[in-house]
Symmetry: C2
Subunit: 342 residues, 2 copies
């Protein structure tokens, strides 16, 4: 298994990516890691190195400020683009980047390429949940596609279900459709049209789920369009942030409260880290001709190593070929249903 | 000023509505309160009564389980429908109900009637904010209209702005458009098309606002379609609920934490009530030929009295005529713009 890492992407790159690559190469001898970036910077960071860790030189870098489409089209020698090309050409089974999210999605689309039958690749981060298992839910799409068609949501449902099964080992993952009520027939035009399509897929569809129940862990996969997903994710983040901020203020408002606060601080910290979606691994870009994983921009070496673990599990369980095979089957079904309905 | 109260709607009706009506009639001698419902039940609750409080008999009741449209059409003598008819016929300036939300919106549409030029009346509850002023934001639409057109969002913006100005006395209320980023040009097809329409209105449009910033009080009016608004509101509710639940668990997880928890309990309760949207008054239904206020289903006498206060302020400041006059002006502008664009 060969995994390409964009060594230059992320707030702490290339130190974090080099250290993460070293740790991963040391842990998994069945992997070959291709660290893609400026050789003169990477060589000293790797030092003596490891036999299964190589540097692939790439002379350019896409920054966080770069306009995604323009950057990917013009900087053909950027570390991110080179890593994408390696996946496209079969020189790597997966790529990982902690760089510019928009540029990575563009690299996925323009360099790695869409899977046959998938109109819209989806970005699928984990949303933390606060139930006892605390496994989180994989939400898709949370990418650049703000508007979706019912068929797109059905494809997201299928891809998300396969990801949870293959990468997280969940048997029959519960797939929910983000909606305004749990009864079938609820929703806007999009979700009302998507519901019957998803219901016919060979997955464990648990129906509509409401935003207020997500944190209770009602589903393993949450299907939504990019707009609604963004509103949901930012509302979760914002509320958690605001509550903790206010809690901090309130807990230092009196002497008595300060003493109490000191006693409960470990519990508060634990709770805060449970709500931190940054701690929940990299987000796969699903629906491409290869595996692309977006690691968080603030990733440290440990986070990069975790993203490698994710990629390794996905490759081992043949995630991309599985999605491709199922997609073909399902697209026939959807187009068949449309013909029947007319 | 005459205000009709649906005496039979709400979890604690008719005791809560009768007590609220009594308190309001006692406080404001410039008001006449018409308490609409089953006379035999209401008379004993009112006792000697007050000169500005009257019972209007209505023999039927719409329950929480009733199917809204069917109930409003068939139960012509229901307290809610009779109150709506009084507004329609000019026998009351406003109506208040804590009953079935869907039925009240149907009563608004079918009995009270839409304002000329308004395609979609909007339900506009307050979302609590956690900033220092803690004034909250008026969000609309959070009603039954899941899908909206750009013109609808522009009308919501205008109506919300006038409501905040007239009823809450906010000069130049800050109106924000719920979106996935703050830059103009961000969003889905709907918000991208709505943005320039709202920008041309004679209001204080502060542009796009993100879900994570709502609780910080970035705007006084939040414009959204019913679907996105529902996702937002339920995510806020759900996160706050989940955080408090988990906090409770964590704070009783050890002896030391229990002592700390006891010391900080008053602060936690204060925080929880700040997050409780039920405490933030009734939600107006805007865009009708009269004022309709939805009080929360769990309203007690105090909440009913507060809804009367809201209605009184709105009538005093001529909210409905103001909306009607502005709407005419703005609709000309929007249709003018469309002609120019073509």
């Amino acid at each position: 298994m060969i995994i390409a890492i964009d060594a230059m992407g992320g707030d702490h790159a290339p130190e974090s990516t080099a250290a993460g690559a070293l740790a991963a190469a040391a842990e998994w001898s069945d992997l070959t890691i291709q660290l893609v970036g400026e050789e003169s910077k990477l060589a000293p960071l790797i030092g003596a190195g490891l036999p299964n860790l190589h540097i692939v030189h790439a002379g350019e870098v896409i920054s966080g400020e770069d306009e995604p489409v323009k950057a990917v089209r013009r900087k053909k020698d950027a570390s991110m683009v080179v890593a994408g090309r390696m996946v496209k050409e079969g020189l790597a089974d997966a790529m990982i980047s902690a760089g510019n999210t928009g540029a990575l999605m563009t690299t996925g689309l323009l360099v790695v390429g869409r899977m046959n039958g998938v109109e819209r690749p989806a970005l699928a981060p984990m949303i933390p949940t606060l139930d006892e298992s605390g496994q989180g839910t994989l939400a898709l799409d949370l990418g650049a596609n703000m508007d979706a068609k019912p068929e797109h949501l059905a494809q997201y449902a299928l891809m998300g279900s396969l990801y949870r099964e293959k990468v997280h080992g969940i048997q029959r993952p519960r797939v929910g459709l983000l909606n305004v009520g749990t009864e079938p027939g609820k929703g806007n035009e999009l979700t009302k049209a998507a519901y019957p399509l998803i219901a016919e897929l060979p997955i464990n569809f648990v129906g509509n789920v409401e935003a207020r129940d997500i944190l209770d862990g009602v589903c393993d996969v949450l299907v939504c369009d990019g707009f609604a997903g963004n509103i949901l994710l930012k509302a979760l983040e914002g509320t958690a942030g605001a509550v903790f901020k206010l809690l901090k203020q309130e807990l230092t408002s009196s002497f008595k409260a300060k003493i109490g606060a000191a006693l409960v601080m470990p519990q508060l910290r634990g709770l805060k880290s449970k709500m931190d979606y940054k701690e929940h691994g990299g987000a796969p870009l699903l629906g491409l001709n290869g595996l692309v994983i977006k690691a968080h921009g603030s990733s440290d070496a440990e986070a990069i190593k975790n993203a490698v673990r994710q990629a390794r599990t996905a490759i081992e369980h043949r995630l991309v070929p599985s999605i491709s095979a199922s997609m073909e089957h399902v697209n026939q079904q959807i187009s068949g249903k449309r013909v029947t309905d007319q």
